[in-house]
Amino acid sequence: MTALLEVEGLHVDIALAAGLLKAVRDVSFSVDRGRTLALVGESGCGKSLTALAVMDLLPPRAQRRAETLRFEGLDLRKARTRRMADLRGNKIAMIFQEPMTSLNPCYTIGNQLEEALLRHRNVPRKEARDRAVFLLEKVGITAAASRLRQYPHQLSGGLRQRVMIAMGLMCGPAMIIADEPTTALDVTIQAQILSLLASLQKEFQMGLLLITHDLGIVARVADRVNVMYCGQVVESGEVAQIFDNPLHPYTQGLLGCIPVPGKTRPGEYLGSIPGVVPTPIGDLKGCAFRNRCAFLSSACEAEDLALRQISAGRAYRCLLSPETCAQNLRGRAK
């Protein structure tokens, strides 16, 4: 199965007054048709910028470079502005985090939905309207036809996010990038939206790049996971592998922070990772996680750490051996 999206060696640099911020460093991943890849990490780890870099929607002061950046075989690095615009919303759709502000308040829902299709297909307006109604119903919005005439401010956050999803689907994209699609929503709505995304993905066999900080979401929806820290991928693998046998100390720490029903005993302290994420400005050598790692050694600050491939699709970025990591994990559980 050839990958829909192939990314290798992606860098995003932002020019700041204090220096060059290396927000995304040497990130590689691929998204396959019909499968979900999750990019997980805390705020500021560069996951959103990675997605924006793929779509060429980076803020003006950010620069991207990559060894490989291919979508359906097309080299995106060389794609001109018009070509990229033809792809966006058409072959690749992106859904953002803030449904409350992601729709233009001056135009109706219908107008904005139809526009998404009419931009890329030369079809009569009626056909666009019918497709909009069809998709609104697909995402679970009742009375779809009358909704078309409503304005965004007349809809709740959950409804607006559904509209965003419908809008992303208007042209039948091959891939969806969802950047924290449920973070701004109530917990109950979150579950609904996630189920919706998962079922739509299966039905239309789309690739899904899911960006989130919530490991719970990852467990529910993703097939593969890339854990990001301070702009780098520190661990990657299938969901089951990551959850059952996390290797990188950061991943272990993350998983230790979540209560697991059945495993976590009442009254037990949840784990936390001491320290703060460093700012990736200036000369960066060694492991980015070392000032928060319980298993620090002198070797950690000297070398430029590369991803260590254990098996196909399973890698992590740490000097410790897999056996040591497993040992550490057992030590934590005590």
């Binding site: 929607l57 615009a85 966006r88 919303g89 992601s102 308040p105 001056c106 931009r119 007349q154 809008m167």
Partner: protein
């Protein structure tokens, strides 16, 4: 909606009354209107005669009440100079001033809005700097100076346009530019800052993510939102132009209400001055009211739900 309109209307009336009252007091207390009317060479007896004849010996408040009562019925008194009802004379000149104001505003918009959009799309580049520089210089030049320069360059040296009178459309070109350019900086800056803010908003990011072409993003989505506060500004500016057209009309000998006001002051034709001040202030209030209505029309969040 109805209560809103009624509230605004009563506000307008109240403002008009206050303005007319303040102006009335100012004019009465600024000097002796009877002496002004009677002329420079009048004897004290003649001044006294004028005073009694025009009821200027009554308490000031009574005088105002009498004026206001007549004004509410549409009678603004007789001009001391023309010996005709004030309204008829003003009415004849009003169209000219409105035309001048409209053209000036049109000029300002045609110049300022594209500049503002351009500056916002390319912030901190030379385009942005040029726009800001032009706007800063525009605000610094006194309007009469600019008017005179226009006359010298376009009227006399190049002989492209007439510089005096208001008989043809050509006569309105230079005065409109002179009057309108002063509003240009404010409009440009508001358009620019509004566009900058809107272009950074999430729905513009959505529009780009949908693959919309940049023209569509810029005009259909961004400008549509950014222009809303500009409309209110335009209404206010138009109101200022109606009141501030005096200098320009005087320089270009445009036969409008502003010029009439200037002449009336020189002639101590107080009823006329009083009426003109009232007229301009009423216009301003009505314009801001219309601007609010238009705002509601443009922004669905205000009008629906």
């Amino acid at each position: 909606m109805l209560t809103y309109t009624l509230k605004r209307f009563s506000l307008a009336v109240l403002v008009a009354l206050t303005v007319s009252f303040v102006t009335f007091m100012l004019l009465r207390f600024s000097g002796d209107p009877a002496a002004a009317l009677a002329g420079v060479n009048a004897t004290p007896r003649e001044i006294e005669f004028v005073r009694v004849k025009y009821g200027l010996d009554r308490p000031v408040v009574i005088q105002y009440a009498a004026w206001a009562k007549r004004a509410l019925q549409g009678d603004f008194g007789e001009s001391n100079y023309f010996n005709q009802p004030v309204e008829s004379i003003i009415g004849g000149r009003l169209g000219v001033t409105m035309t001048l104001g409209g053209c000036a505003l049109g000029f300002a918009v045609l110049l300022a809005v594209p500049m503002g959009v351009l500056a916002a799309v390319r912030p901190n580049t030379w385009i942005d700097r040029v726009a800001l520089t032009v706007s800063v210089i525009g605000q610094a030049m006194p309007s009469f100076f600019f008017g005179l320069i226009l006359i010298i360059v376009f009227g006399v040296m190049l002989r492209w346009l007439p510089v005096s009178g208001s008989s043809s459309w050509r006569h309105f070109v230079l005065p409109s530019i002179a009057l309108g350019y002063y509003a240009t900086p404010a409009i440009m800056r508001l358009t620019r800052s509004g566009m900058l803010e809107v272009l950074a908003s999430d729905y513009i990011r959505t529009a780009k993510a949908k693959g919309l072409r940049s023209g569509s993003v810029l005009f259909k989505h961004a400008l549509r939102n950014a222009i809303i506060p500009v409309v209110s500004l335009l209404a206010v500016q138009f109101g200022f132009m109606l009141g501030g057209s005096l200098v320009i009309e005087t320089i270009f000998a445009i036969n409008g209400v502003g010029f009439l006001g200037y002449e009336s002051i020189a002639r101590a034709d107080l009823p006329m001055v009083q009426a003109i001040v009232l007229l301009v202030s009423m216009f301003y209030v009505v314009l801001t009211f219309l601007a609010d209505l238009f705002n509601a029309f443009l922004d669905p969040r205000i009008r629906v739900g």
